[in-house]
Point group: C2
Chain length 164, copies 2
């Protein structure tokens, strides 16, 4: 099963290296990882997606929480959460191919964020399944460059909400 793990850490050199080292040191492949400062520059938030056995990943999560400079670790897979990912793709498209790229963008409610004579830049956001569909749909195009953010996740509102 895929686990989405978030960690709030001190924004210092070396913290990310220790976290990535601990997870991959156990032989787990980090499928996607995102890290960036929070509203408070002194902290960074890490989101990582790691496929693996529930019990062992629970141990990894506990050990991550014990690392110096790590404030809080959550396996959001066990909680209500929303996950989104972003893809940025530079697609070869002269004037004749533009209509097909725009149709692709429209189907995925993606945005054209760059236009050049021979290429268009598409920005697409979505959940895991939409991202998979989009990557598959891209096979029909000539992709000059592509980058993906990896999944980011937030926990949903208070557990005492009426709909729980």
């Amino acid at each position: 099963m895929k686990h989405t793990i978030t960690a709030l850490v001190e924004n210092k050199p070396g913290v990310l290296a220790r976290i990535v080292g601990l997870v991959s040191g156990r032989g787990y492949n980090i499928e996607t990882l995102c890290v960036g400062p929070t509203q408070d520059d002194t902290f960074s938030k890490i989101t990582m997606v790691v496929p693996g056995d529930d019990h062992v990943l629970e141990q990894v999560t506990l050990q991550l929480g014990k690392l110096v400079d790590v404030l809080h670790v959550t396996d959001v897979t066990r909680r209500r959460h929303i996950t989104r990912e972003m893809i940025l793709a530079e697609i070869a498209a002269g004037k004749e191919q533009r209509a097909a790229v725009m149709e692709l963008a429209s189907m995925f409610t993606a945005a054209i964020v760059g236009v050049r004579d021979r290429s268009l830049t598409i920005q697409m956001t979505g959940g895991e399944e939409q991202v998979r569909d989009f990557l598959r749909a891209l096979r029909d195009f000539k992709v000059l460059d592509i980058a993906r953010s990896g999944a980011i996740a937030v926990a949903r509102g208070n557990d005492d909400d009426a709909d729980n």
Copy 2:
């Protein structure tokens, strides 16, 4: 100066750990980092933003390119490129506060991707400056959880384009 470095690597355990270790081993703080598989599952693309001296980061980029399982490294800062980032924020909002959150979303062309009785989930995408503005604007709200993807970047189309 901030450098945006992209790397195409083999999608295997340990590769990310070596890259992060090399950069932070030189004392550089990785401000944001994203990694995820490309269209071809056997490869992952890493985008990282590292503030630092031009000359030394050039050396780091060269050394990254020599690591095992690293196919290609580019400092896109030196090329035409488009950079985008995504923020996901869970904002406390009962029925009375919803209008203010929707106004915020509308100003930043952000999307409401989750609605609960007491909270709304906003997904915002933009360039570096828009992201900074959005994070500042969020200070007026009660943020229950927040995650950011970090910058992802793609190189623009061919260098022989007419507008170069």
